[in-house]
Point group: D2
Chain length 438, copies 4
């Protein structure tokens, strides 16, 4: 998500507290453990990188890995340590300026466009900064272990979800950095297993007033609330995601040159940016290849198509005689299925087909574009303070994506999660589940 929402309303309970209300002692213990796990996972994702890889930003949407590492630490420093740990001293006073992303109330920020130009602090210094923050965080959490109702714990929880968002961004960003490099380095060495693919089928959504949105039990971002009623007409949702082979047919059929299939702004973008295929697809010796986390490989026909914009998803759906699902349709359909899949924690980092039958691939392959704009739910109330200052400030000109991708941490995915990107974003792991009217 660029950028992302971050705040749970004051009443929100951590996810380990399914009954809601004040988190019990089990939660403080779990969060203390989660802190170590999440922080370690971020650094684990950096294992394949050399120092130089941490520094650059290959396009405006991409932040340097170094910045992700520091910004997620700055978040704990600014919202947890500074207000709640009296003796805390920032490691370097300039970091507050360098590593704030867009929190106006948290002070001045370094210009986003220059993030990729900053060679110091060094990568080593950034890791030292992480350690500095971690030491203070651990000390603070240990101190408060016996006070599981302390507000610090909900801030820790937010901070961990925030860091998980940046884990996903980090993976997508480093993929783009590697793709931009004519040397085409690989992040993973393992080969990708070829996959089967299920016959397409359709899941019926029943007409009527449904409830969607988060019910307040467990962690969620504020844009997922409140749970509310919405009318949904009967519709069918596809059992599985659109595959590379299916998308290649659209290309072969002249899809990128047929104006009637596209939104007006979409066709203008296709022509301006000379798009002829999803990001990362390349013709090699007359056959489609795809740049993956493991380097350039022949396209897996059965894998879900990914790295395409809303414009392309929408045009494909029209070509296929279908449409994208609405946000409520997706949530209603997905609730019947568990939050399971191959997430970034598995280290695989590539969507891949599932030979099973029936509805599948809701989580862990690719984010799924909807035809719903990113708008506030009825009764949405932004929280106060710097953390919540701008909860809804990105609610214009963006589309909702649902599900979770192979770059999402497993514990970060849920049925009510509202991801959002503008029409032309392609560098995230995004794909297509079709829908149709009944």
């Amino acid at each position: 998500m660029t950028p992302h929402t971050l705040v749970a309303p004051p009443s929100a309970a951590p996810s380990s507290s399914p009954q809601g209300g004040a988190p019990g002692s089990r939660d403080a213990v779990a969060l203390r453990r989660a802190y170590d796990q999440v922080r370690a996972q971020t650094e684990l994702l950096c294992d394949p990188l050399v120092t130089e890889d941490f520094v650059v930003s290959s396009m405006p949407d991409v932040s340097p890995t170094k910045w992700h590492l520091a910004h997620t630490s700055w978040f704990f420093e600014t919202f947890v340590l500074t207000p709640h740990l009296r003796q805390y001293q920032p490691l370097n006073a300039k970091y507050a300026f360098l590593f704030n992303s867009y929190y106006v109330q948290a002070g001045e920020r370094h210009c986003r466009a220059q993030r990729g130009l900053v060679t110091r602090p060094t990568v080593q210094e950034v890791f030292a900064y992480r350690a500095w923050v971690d030491d203070a965080m651990r000390f603070l959490m240990d101190t408060l272990a016996s006070d599981p109702a302390h507000e610090v714990w909900s801030l820790v929880e937010i901070g961990l979800h925030h860091e998980q968002q940046h884990q996903e961004l980090l993976v997508a960003d480093i993929k783009h950095v590697f793709f931009t490099n004519p040397m085409r380095p690989a992040y993973l060495t393992s080969a990708l297993a070829p996959a089967g693919v299920a016959e397409q089928g359709w899941q019926r959504i029943e007409e009527g007033v449904h409830e969607i949105g988060h019910d307040g039990n467990g962690f969620h971002f504020d844009n997922e609330a409140p749970r509310h009623r919405t009318y949904v007409a009967a519709a069918d949702l596809a059992h599985r995601l659109v595959t590379n082979a299916e998308y290649a047919e659209f290309i072969a059929d002249g899809g990128y040159h047929s104006a009637p299939l596209w939104l007006s702004a979409g066709f203008a973008t296709v022509n301006d940016l000379q798009w002829t295929a999803p990001l990362y697809w390349e013709r090699v010796a007359d056959s489609w290849h795809e740049f993956t986390m493991a380097g350039l490989h022949p396209l897996d026909p059965n894998a879900p198509v990914t790295h395409l914009s809303h414009y392309e998803a929408d045009a494909y759906a029209r070509w296929a005689g279908a449409r994208l699902p609405t946000e409520p349709e997706w949530e209603v359909a997905s609730r019947l299925h568990p939050v399971a899949g191959r997430f970034v924690d598995s280290g695989i980092l590539h969507p891949s087909a599932n030979a099973g039958s029936g509805p599948q691939q809701f989580f862990g392959d690719v984010w799924q574009w909807t035809q719903s704009a990113y708008l506030p739910y009825p009764g949405y109330k932004p929280a106060g303070g710097a953390l919540g200052e701008y909860n809804g400030k990105f609610m214009s000109d963006q589309w909702i994506l649902r599900g979770a991708s192979c770059a999402t941490p497993a514990s970060h995915a849920r049925h009510t999660y509202r991801n959002f990107f503008p029409s032309d974003a392609r560098w995230q792991f995004t794909g297509i589940r079709l829908a149709r009217n009944v």
Copy 2:
């Protein structure tokens, strides 16, 4: 609307045929009369102009008056005369290229950005083109008078609604052309009457499943259909529009400098374009003035604020502790009130306050921004052919506006009309009706 949707589905009846189905003979007669009226009204709007005024485009959104005059004639030529009047000869073969707006299937088009650079055909030649088309149209309509079911009649009806849309654009465009000119010419000479203002009050919308959208009886654009069910939570809508005086308080309170009030993209726009007030507001000797169709005048405190973007409407609503209405809320609330107001046909061309009490100002003052994105209704089906080729192609990154403005022709306004513009559009007569949760 930039650009606009244009097509009624094949089953759509002209507005004079409330029962739907094939239009009766009364309709043909009415359309024949409407043709003369609408075409004459377009030319009447040009009365205050000199030749030079017809030529220029003062910004990319603005088309030259000359182009509006010709394009609306091209529409009848292309979609009615060429296919249905065998002997018809275009007056000039190049006009088809020059005056097509964006209909890809209707052939190549002249670049929009160059519309304001074309000095020939002259204004006189464009009027001659109108007369040429009118003569052929009248001949054709007379011929078909006895065949009221002929498909030409529904094309005529679409063409007239299309021309009415351009009447509104023409007025907004010429206002901008005059504003751009340091000589600051006036379009109207009449002074504006000062106006009273009603106390603000609130109309309750009841919670429940409501039906919105056009029922198919009478003319409508395809984006207004189908009529469909939608769930609406209980809400209050303001009785009247936000006034200039109220908006000036927002400015005086530092509204344009307070980031937390704005969408992120909105605050960026405010800073990039250095907005400090609505378009057309100016400080003169320490007091606010407004450039109107009658020239620069001191701001009327009671008149509805107008010429502001969605960003500004949204920020104002947040400042006022309220929000913009949703599209269904607005339609439900407005249905209790008649489509009445001061339209462009009255020659007044300025929103003005109404001293009455109770819900008011739905039509004839300013278009009212909603918080609903412009998206297809469930079950929306675009029509076929060049006319319908791209009915939904503008359904991205735009907001719905409801109602009608003082620049809208009276017979063009209706409860289900869906106008749409992007977040930063300000040159139309746009304003604010507040809403709030219950």
Copy 3:
């Protein structure tokens, strides 16, 4: 020239005063007569135009004809009437703002980019403005007829040369306006006579210290002075200009695709702007045509090539195994030949070949790019006041052109005239005379 230099040093005599010093009575009479002639000639050039043609600016370099008409009048109003005619009242106080070009000391100016958006004053009002200024100028000149040494006379002379510069700009600008219009109007109705062409020959320039620059006798712009010594190595200058046929060979030989022929910035421009031929050349049915003042015609093979940039002239010369002349070489060579040719006053407005032999075509066909940058002559001294404020302010990143074109008024051409444009300017009547080392 965009923009142009304007000022004669205080000591400069009008051209009718070959002896220099204060102009004699003959000069006042001549200037009084010249005033009527020059002002009438400007209006004569507008004869082929309709009202709409006066309004637009088809690209940033092009000013509307209406603006040329008004600006040249503003010049007399500002620099002659206001300071020297006590009772003079401006016709409209806003014109001073609208029609100032770039004289900072003469007050605020209207933004150049918006010149083409101003519909009022109307064309008729601009002609009335000219008449208003003319009446006052005539009255003032009559009053001063008996005082030929009055400084007003030298201001009149400057104003007339200034107006002649705008005559040339007006012609080039209207040509571009007509070219931009898909209707492709013609300015002249007369057909162009086919022409012969002379064998190419070479004129030898002798090695040594030469004097160039204006000697101060007669009118000149300040950038032509002072006359000064310069060392010139022996060189040959071509007898005649490069023809369309010769330039077409360069194109046919792949000239526009051969990087080694071009300056680095030139080849980048060729690729960015997708140049494949001079401005106004078009392929029609596999043969080159040229848009001329008389419309689109098959290319005259013998006419001098025109409407090309310095980049193209330089690349052509390299391809031809030659180079462009330096400014001193051109002046030394041209001094042997009279200032004669077909100028705008003749009404022909098209360069055409001369079948004579020997050095020719110095004046009245096309401006000739040199390889000299536009820099101050040694000892150059800008004059004071608003008129002279910025005499040298355009002396960066421009090239000298010498001679005069078919769009230049005959009395405006002279051996020492320094015209200048940036590397990529093509809308003036510009061409190529080759030179080579000995």
Copy 4:
């Protein structure tokens, strides 16, 4: 120089061969030793850097240090090893693509704008590439030690001068990279010694025909030849450079806001880019400071002003009642003085005042803007092949600078050296020597 000329004509002798003609055996020995020295010096300049510093490009003119290191090696690989060492194998086939700058005939090139986005090859790999090339070069030079007339030696010489140019660029580039970083790292740790300043005085240049340009004895770039005659009027050149204190007076006098002092394009640039002082100057607590290679320091009033554009140098000179020198004036004046100063080899890297009297500071402080455009000398002949393909291709819209700066290697400076940059370049060590007419 961006970019630079590179080629000596075939007859050019290495600088150790003052008599010209084929280099003697002493030259081969000297070049063999120079190779080690120059290559080592480049790496010495990188000593203060950490890995991250090598990667980024802080603006379009700036190349990453890593790229400089690789490109200078690519130069030897491409122009020496590949054609002359039969067994040579490139270390990596993709490097030829990545590290070509602009030699079209040497093959495809990586887009300059993306240089700063390439994280691999790593810095360590680039140093390994240098070692690989050095090993091959040393082997080849040893082999040819007994054949001092072999053409490889002149290619080696060019390659070393090329590398010295990149040493200077590297220093200026890294300064900008450090300046862009809010952490403001320092390259040098040593403090700067305060300096005295000499009274200003004037050196007379005698009127007459002078010879300038390189005489062909010793190494030179092709744009320095041929030596040729030029006429110079009598003039005075300032004894020393303009100081920071003097330039601060210009600022305090409103120099940056006074349009009449500036070239038109210069004043537009000042306003567009909001320049108020030279690059690297900052107000700290109401006094001027300067970002230097040793970090931010209070401005040394006596040091030569540096990091200003031609626009600023030109405006300052006008304000001071003087002008910039012409290229011939500078060369004639400088020839009386030795090529001596504080160069990059000294490790000081900051211009500093010299308390001596008489003409000084020609070399080793700052490059000195002239008022001469960068144009070919009469009789200039570009060499053939890829190396010489584009020798003159930068001869448009650039100004000549003369002398040498503190970032220039000592053995790279000479009286005839023609450096060039466009009007707005500021990141090099550029400054002002005044001139005036007699």
